[in-house]
């Protein structure tokens, strides 16, 4: 069936081996005028080299301040079916396992009430339902909650939908129950998720190990990264099997052909702390020097495993550039056990939020506030003692802010007595 708008430029994106979103939209467009007009609008953007969506627009479901992003096209005269094209964020189950049953029901709801287009998934982790009209928001929300037991995620100045890695569900390295932690945070802070109350967005992400598969350290205001404090578990026989060429190094990441692992070159020399030695038979690890970077474990997954005294390193403050430049998360709590019911973590979170809400300016992320007021102020607020694990190096400028309480006699001075010793 011929579609309403010619799309000669987009048609070029139907070529090539990678799955084509244009082909995918087109087959829905055959029955959905919304998708037909979306293609026409996108083709116009390809001609103009400018986007054609209007700025913002506040829409939502009753009682929520987040979860729906209003979107209006700036040429409804040409593309009336995408005059309204709002996004709904649906909070995904942690680590994104689904049954076909729930997905089909979700598709049916979205077929009936929306464009039939989705993002699987958005950057926050939500299932994004892409494009509907204002009058459909309540029916969709009703059906999501009643038929699927699903709820909306976050948008705006609230806690954004937390996200975690695959964790213990299918990874041998996970030092944390990331799913359970993410589920706990999501459920406990539903109010913060749905009702904007913060200076700006706040993101939690949990990765089970320092490989950090959800990029928590780069994009979460609070990054929860699994780690261990004891020794790497070694199976010496398996180490010898890697060296002997019976096991495939790096879990097959470089191909599954059998080859002898050059343990000196590929493991020991690449260890950032040089905390290992191979005597031709056994691998010795000086665990007290290990910084748990994961390289050796990644290369020899059948021989080495993280230790068993596991927990999380809590880091704070990551964000993309807007406004004050990009930041990675900084270590705040080097180790926390992170066991249910996670009381220690909740207490930390609530102190952190109180400080941020008290001190943060409009649209100031936690990381920016920490930078503006200093890490020391943040540590005071969350009642954490300073620790060398929080820094790369002590300061190399001499401009230290002292508290009068730390100096004998405080800041009160006797000018007269001074001048008696030193004539002006």
């Amino acid at each position: 069936m011929a579609l309403k708008h010619a799309t000669p430029m987009l048609d070029e994106l139907e070529k090539g081996p990678w799955p084509s979103f244009v082909t995918d939209i087109k087959r829905v467009a055959a029955r959905k005028p919304m998708c037909e007009d979306l293609l026409g609008l996108l083709e116009m953007s390809y001609e103009h080299k400018e986007g054609h969506w209007k700025h913002g627009g506040i829409v939502g479901v009753f009682g929520y301040g987040g979860g729906v992003i209003g979107r209006y096209c700036d040429r409804p005269d040409l593309f009336p079916n995408v005059a309204h094209f709002h996004t709904m964020r649906v909070n995904q189950p942690a680590s994104k396992f689904y049954t076909s049953e729930v997905l089909r029901k979700l598709c049916d709801i979205w077929e009936e009430h929306g464009s039939g287009l989705t993002n699987m998934h958005g950057s926050t982790g939500d299932v994004i339902l892409l494009g509907t009209t204002t009058d459909q928001l309540e029916p969709i929300f009703y059906r999501l909650t009643h038929e699927l037991g699903m709820d909306l995620g976050g948008s705006g100045s609230n806690m954004r939908t937390p996200e975690g890695c695959v964790g213990k569900a299918r990874c041998e390295w996970s030092c944390l129950d990331t799913q359970d932690i993410i589920y706990d945070i999501t459920m406990r802070y539903q109010d913060e998720l749905h009702r904007p109350m913060f200076p700006y967005k706040f993101k939690f992400k949990a990765s089970g190990c320092p490989n950090d598969c959800v990029a928590a350290i780069a994009r979460a205001d609070c990054s929860i990264i699994g780690t261990w404090r004891d020794k790497i578990r070694i199976d010496q026989e398996a180490v010898r099997a890697y060296v002997g060429g019976e096991l495939v190094p790096n879990g097959g990441s470089h191909g599954f052909e059998k080859r002898k692992l050059d343990i000196q070159k590929e493991v020991i020399d690449l260890c950032p702390t040089r905390c290992m030695e191979w005597d031709g038979k056994n691998l010795k690890i000086w665990d007290e020097d290990c910084t748990r970077c994961m390289h050796c474990i990644n290369v020899m997954p059948r021989a080495l495993r993280p230790g068993t005294d596991v927990g999380a390193t809590i880091l704070c403050g990551a964000k993309a550039p807007i406004l004050e430049g990009a930041q990675l998360s900084s270590v705040i709590i080097p180790f926390m056990k992170m066991e249910p019911p996670y009381e220690e973590f909740h207490s930390f979170v609530e102190k952190m939020w109180d400080w941020w809400m008290e001190n943060g300016k409009n649209r100031e992320r936690l990381g920016e506030l920490i930078q503006r007021l200093g890490l020391r102020e943040f540590l005071k607020a969350v009642e954490v003692e300073p620790d060398p694990r929080m820094i790369n190096t002590p300061r190399f400028n001499p401009y230290i802010f002292y508290d009068p309480a730390d100096v004998p006699g405080g800041w009160e001075r006797d000018g007269k007595a001074y001048r008696e010793r030193h004539h002006a």
């Binding site: 699903m150 879990g251 990675l328 409009n362």
Partner: protein, 366 residues
């Protein structure tokens, strides 16, 4: 009870949260939760995880465009029903993973995926170009300088062989954000594609006072380039254009300050970021190419520049070295030399803390 539009409070459910994660676990995932011992990649895109119980789970990872229709999701469901007991999962990088608990079920699954045209490319594991994470671009965003899905499609078509193979020294994560807001947080990627504006905002004086909170607009500018100004009868703003670094934050606060421009906008490429703590600490991506014009529909300069960088890395880096580790070993002067990318004044930082990036040693290469 169906939805009653005349009484939206009736039977209303709110704040129920997401379904509990284990509700959709396949039985073999539930049984082996936390018991996994090791994993191996059997071929690109195909993983086996082995449990302490002896159970094995085979995963086939397929790439997907992030933008999916319900038709494609229903096809995913068909595959899951036929081979995987109705279970399926997605990864953070927009891949779809089909899992089976028996090696005998693997080949029929792979054959089925391969029989369905090019919808389900297998790969994205190990030393490959993993699937590209990206933002909305012209398909759905209000502040973009570039498209997203279309550029990703063009890039992945060209790098396709690196998705389904393990030919690279290490994994290469490519990400795209369509403006400096970086909803996709691409600032720590091996190769990042970033939409950039290059013209200061248009000031629609007659609209500013009606659609904007002027103090918020002024406060939003990181370089304090915006001041209040009365223009005729309108309360508006003036912008010191020389201080504008095109972040778009003023537009986010005020729709009467648009800065998108077909000729001014385009793409910057960044390299050498990572998030894993493996070997070296996480790193930001650094500027490789300050500007490439928008070239819809196939974005050839962007695609070819990325390919050239990738292939230079592939032939030059040592095993396990991520792009950033490779560049730091050879040095930035060599990076520009080897990739043939022109080094320009834009590469020298002149924003806050710029000095941290200038060379303060005589240790460099001729």
């Amino acid at each position: 009870m169906p939805f009653d539009p005349s009484d939206i409070m009736k039977d209303r459910l709110t704040d129920i949260g997401p379904p509990k994660y284990d509700k959709f676990f396949p039985p073999f995932i539930k049984e082996n939760y936390g018991k996994w011992k090791y994993h191996e990649i059997l071929e690109p895109g195909v993983l086996v995880h082995v449990s302490e119980t002896g159970a094995e789970v085979y995963t086939v990872r397929v790439g997907a465009a992030r933008l999916l229709s319900v038709d494609l999701i229903r096809e995913v469901c068909d595959i899951a029903d036929k081979h995987c007991g109705g279970y399926v999962r997605w990864t953070t990088r927009n891949n779809i993973e089909f899992m089976v608990d028996d090696k005998a079920k693997l080949k029929p699954l792979i054959d089925d995926l391969k029989s369905r045209g090019n919808w389900f490319p297998i790969g994205g594991t190990g030393a490959s170009v993993t699937n590209v994470v990206h933002t909305q671009g012209w398909v759905h965003c209000h502040t973009p300088a570039i498209d997203a899905s279309g550029i990703v499609k063009a890039v992945m078509d060209e790098l396709f062989e690196y998705f389904g193979s393990h030919k690279l020294p290490a994994q290469v994560r490519i990400s795209l954000a369509c403006c400096l807001n970086m909803c996709g947080a691409v600032h720590c990627s091996d190769i990042a594609i970033l939409g950039v504006h290059r013209k200061p905002p248009i000031i629609e004086h007659e609209r500013v006072q009606n659609v904007c909170e002027i103090p918020l607009v002024i406060a939003a500018c990181p370089t304090a380039a915006i001041k209040p100004k009365k223009v005729g009868d309108y309360k508006s703003v003036e912008i010191n254009e020389n201080r504008c670094m095109f972040c778009g934050n003023c537009y986010t606060m005020c729709p009467a300050l648009p800065l998108a421009d077909g000729e001014g906008d385009g793409i910057a490429l960044w390299v050498g970021g990572k998030v894993s703590n493996s070997r070296v600490p996480p790193k930001f991506s650094k500027l490789a190419v300050p500007y490439i014009p928008n070239e819809p529909p196939r974005w050839p300069t962007t695609v070819q520049t990325i390919k050239k960088m990738l292939e230079t890395y592939a032939s030059d880096a040592r095993r396990y070295e991520r792009v950033g580790e490779w560049i730091e070993r050879i040095g930035w002067e060599r990076f520009f030399e080897k990739t043939g990318i022109e080094f320009r004044h834009e590469h020298i930082d002149d924003y806050r803390l710029a000095m941290m990036t200038w060379r303060t040693t005589t240790q460099f290469k001729f």
